[in-house]
């Protein structure tokens, strides 16, 4: 029997050895920033992969570009804007909040608030019905 700890260890190892990209930067700090960036940038050929995960030629070219910009001393923000100037916001896995995307970002909060409002209304109405006529609770509410 394999102990769960071994399985977890195996999964961790498999994750750190993401095999597609053979390139390593000498500076470990740069390497860390490089991996972080590569996991946030979209490969535009295979759109549901990051450039870190994709072995498309374009992804390799973009990784090379990111490495060279890092070595040249550019900040992460510089590198992101280098790519969005060329490929648009779609290249970012986390799109910025703009007039076009605010609804996308706000949707979870709006849905939660909407649901809370509906729930609060229903609860309040039932409490009112119950205090007026406790027997009404036995019946199905007329509507939701």
């Amino acid at each position: 029997m394999i102990r769960p700890a071994w399985i977890v260890a195996g999964m961790l190892l498999a994750d750190s050895a993401h095999g597609i990209d053979p390139e390593r930067l000498e500076d470990p700090d740069l390497q860390q920033r490089y991996e972080h960036l590569a996991h946030q940038l979209r490969c535009l050929v295979c759109q549901n992969e990051t450039i870190a995960d994709s072995n498309a030629t374009l992804a390799a070219d973009l990784r090379r570009e990111v490495r060279e910009l890092l070595i040249a001393g550019k900040t992460d923000a510089d590198i992101r804007s280098f790519l969005t100037e060329r490929y648009g916001d779609f290249v970012l896995y986390l799109p910025p909040v703009t007039p076009r995307t605010w609804l996308l970002w706000a949707a979870p909060a709006l849905l939660l608030l909407g649901g809370a409002a509906v729930a609060a209304t229903i609860v309040r109405r039932r409490m009112r019905t119950a205090s007026a006529d406790p027997a009404a609770l036995e019946e199905e509410p007329e509507n939701l």
Binding site: T57, T84, G88
Partner: protein
């Protein structure tokens, strides 16, 4: 809201969702709007495909409208649009420069000999650096650059006579029509 309309609310919401999906799903996610439109064309100077000693650059055709067509011999769509490109070249309204993207020089030269050459010049970009500056992600792509050096339009995918007439000719006419 009137009580008797309430049961219709979920149905109305569902219908709205369906309309939203019908519109959303008909968009082609592989067409990504280029942020370059309206901006100055990215400058480049590369070796000419047919002669490493000669430079081909974005300044060569400055001062008038021109086309930049991104192609490669490994690109099936490029083969499909080649006849249309030759027709556009024959029309002679606007000069077309080629950007040979991540290709093999000798294969690319053979292609032009065999199929015909619609380009006034071809820049050779074996490492894909200029292609990245132009936001290229899938050949074929065709850019129209205005006389003022700004990118006017980008066609992603195969150029057809219909696309040429519909999307490019009106923009060219607005530029003064060409010769």
């Amino acid at each position: 809201m009137k009580k008797n309309l309430r049961p219709l609310l979920p149905i109305a919401l569902f219908a709205g969702l369906i309309v939203f999906f019908i519109i959303g799903l008909q968009k082609d996610p592989s067409r990504i709007d280029s942020p370059l439109i309206g901006k100055p064309a990215p400058a480049f100077a590369l070796e000419a495909l047919d002669n490493p000693a000669v430079q081909v650059g974005s300044g060569d055709l400055a001062g008038r409208p021109w086309l930049l067509n991104v192609w490669a011999t490994w690109c099936g769509g490029c083969r499909q649009e080649h006849t249309t490109l030759l027709e556009i070249a024959r029309e002679g309204r606007v000069p077309m420069m080629g950007l040979n993207w991540r290709d093999d020089r000798s294969l690319a030269l053979q292609w032009l000999v065999k199929l015909g050459n619609p380009y006034v010049s071809v820049a050779y970009d074996p490492e894909g650096r200029t292609a990245i500056d132009w936001g290229v992600y899938g050949a074929p792509e065709t850019f129209l650059i205005g006389a003022d050096g700004k990118v006017l339009h980008k066609q992603i995918g195969i150029m057809t006579a219909e696309i040429w007439r519909r999307d490019f000719l009106p923009l060219l006419a607005a530029q003064g029509g060409g010769p």
